[in-house]
């Protein structure tokens, strides 16, 4: 079985919102109709987005870290939003695991947005139907596009390649390997929704420099041999023999 999903590397994301704008640009121009965008240049812009990038500060000054956190539909393997839909407008595709909304069946009752713990379903306040990330389903299968471009718009636009797209059920796919080897995790595992999208954690690259790597020591290759402790300022054997 195929389960398409995104893997987002929090270690790489710089919070530039390119995925947000490219997502909106692609999906508002798509066959499913526009996405609301009210007062875009006014004091209180509002509208429908499939993808948001949020920013968090972890820790207390001065030991803080800024985490940019992109969030879109996680295409859960056990999506709580699907069974609650009274019309069947919300569904999970058998063939690739994408959770979609049929905009022609949706009655706009908002019950599915209540049933999503992640808050990734947004009602379109003009079309009055529930909208959410489609994983660019109108793009990833489009054979008129070059194969390299058959990816969600957010993935293509990410300048730091923090977003990966692929089949998380295929153990050999790049996304599965990243989840497995880079410590990929799911959000709010406590609700058993089994999100397909995964996040790669922040990883620290640390250099470990020991003292003897900073200070010239006598006989560095025979460390097991006990040497007379000599004051560091005194000339070492190296000083006298290296000329």
């Amino acid at each position: 079985m195929t389960q398409l999903a995104l893997v987002i590397d929090l270690n790489v994301c710089v919070g530039c919102h390119a995925c947000v704008t490219s997502c909106k640009e692609w999906n508002t121009s798509g066959p499913a109709g526009f996405m609301s965008d009210d007062n875009p240049y006014g004091p209180a812009p509002t509208g429908t987005f499939f993808n948001r990038v949020q920013t968090y500060e972890v820790g207390e000054f001065p030991n803080t870290e800024t985490v940019h956190f992109p969030k879109s539909c996680l295409h859960c393997e056990d999506p709580p939003c699907v069974p609650v839909c009274p019309t069947g407008a919300s569904y999970k595709r058998e063939e690739d695991g994408i959770v979609l909304v049929d905009y022609d069946k949706c009655i706009g009752c908002r019950y599915c947005s209540w049933a999503c713990p992640y808050g990734v379903r947004e009602i379109d306040e003009h079309q009055k139907v529930m909208k959410k990330c489609t994983l660019c389903v109108d793009r990833i299968y489009d054979e008129s596009l070059p194969e390299a471009e058959r990816k969600p718009a957010c993935v293509l636009s990410c300048p730091t390649s923090a977003r990966m797209f692929g089949d998380v059920h295929d153990p050999q796919s790049a996304v599965s390997i990243a989840i497995r080897e880079e410590g990929g995790y799911a959000l709010m595992p406590e609700w058993g929704t089994k999100p397909s999208n995964h996040y790669l954690p922040r990883r620290k690259t640390r250099m470990h420099i020991h003292e003897d790597e900073l200070i010239r020591a006598d006989n560095p290759l025979k460390k097991e041999q006990r040497e007379h402790a000599a004051p560091v300022e005194a000339p070492t054997l190296d000083d006298s023999t290296s000329w």
């Binding site: 429908t48 987005f49 949020q54 972890v58 949706c106 009655i107 009752c109 713990p117 709010m188 609700w191």
Partner: protein, 325 residues
């Protein structure tokens, strides 16, 4: 959650309608086994059922305002296998139809005694329709409650108490109205309904208080740590990604102060339970219909506050992602 007035009116109005129908039907059941005198079909049972139908219809109309596409609402009956909302969409018209049939049968006298026992208990045709109506009414209470109780991560709602509260609060308000109605249409039943109203009001007070206590000491399973998957005790949101608000900030927050919340809580606790009981008692003692009607109106206003708080009190885990602009 943001309390939507359409849903507040839907749940309170159909609660009254269901409760009133149950009360009328209870009255008839008692008279069938000769514990109560049989009342006038047109004046009491027929008119009572029509009043219940009026409340159910008003609730249905209120619910339409919650939908983005009410013209597609018929589709909502299709997923009854998985969705409690879909089940409610089936149960509500079913209750309305049965109440209508029950009322019409009484009104036009389409009724026969099917069976009379040796002790004189009569099984009437309307009683069978009424029994079906009562079963459908209980099913509707279950559906309404389960819509909320079935969302497991809305922990304030995810409890059997939610269903019990919908059942008891709805029945209570219907019985209060039945007492007022009886004082006009069947004065000898006023005490019967009044006493039942008092009992149900006490039961509703206990279960609603239990849910308030439960919600006050609830431990949330989700936290900033599980929402982001970052293991640190200090996580602060610096930006939610937009400045002007969105559905996420409008639909899931009530934007009211703690003081306001607390005031609403005490307001409804007074308006729903002790005050109507006082008016009920005065009305029963004096036999004054207007006083009993006042009890119902006060209780209904209290129930609007109760339902507002029911929604406002629920903390959706998505709110963790929307802490600051």
């Amino acid at each position: 959650m943001h309390p939507a007035f359409s849903v507040i009116f839907l749940t309170t109005l159909i609660g009254v309608g269901q409760g009133l129908f149950l009360a009328i039907f209870t009255g008839q059941s008692y008279s069938a086994v000769e514990l109560l005198p049989l009342e006038d079909s047109v004046q009491f049972y027929g008119t009572g059922a029509m009043i219940a139908l009026l409340f159910l219809t008003a609730g249905l109309i209120a619910s339409v305002f919650h939908l983005g596409h009410p013209e597609r609402a018929w589709r909502a009956a299709s997923r009854w296998r998985t969705s409690w909302l879909s089940r409610e969409v089936i149960a509500l018209p079913l209750v309305m139809a049965l109440v209508l049939i029950f009322g019409l049968m009484h009104y036009f006298g389409w009724d026969t005694v099917l069976f009379t026992s040796k002790t004189g208990a009569r099984l009437q045709l309307t009683l069978i329709v009424g029994t079906l109506g009562a079963i459908a009414t209980f099913a509707l209470f279950l559906c309404t409650g389960m819509i909320y109780a079935a969302i497991k991560f809305l922990q304030e709602w995810s409890s059997p108490l939610t269903v019990i509260n919908y059942l008891l609060l709805g029945t209570m308000s219907g019985f209060t109205l039945a007492t007022a109605f009886a004082s006009y249409a069947a004065p000898d039943l006023t005490h019967f309904f009044g006493i039942w109203t008092t009992i149900i009001t006490f039961a509703a007070f206990l279960s609603r208080s239990a849910s308030l206590i439960r919600n006050a000491r609830i431990k949330f399973k989700s936290s900033m740590q599980t929402a982001l998957g970052i293991r640190h005790t200090q996580i602060q949101q610096k930006s939610m990604g937009f400045m002007g608000g969105s559905v996420n900030t409008r639909d899931f927050f009530h934007h009211k102060t703690r003081l306001f919340m607390r005031s609403i809580k005490w307001l409804f606790l007074v308006l729903v339970f002790p005050l109507p009981l006082f008016f009920l008692w005065v009305g029963m003692e004096t036999g004054n219909g207007a006083t009993l009607l006042t009890a119902f109106i006060i209780q209904y206003i209290g129930l609007l506050a109760e339902r507002w708080l029911f929604f406002a009190q629920a903390n959706h885990p998505q709110n963790l992602y929307y802490q600051t602009v």
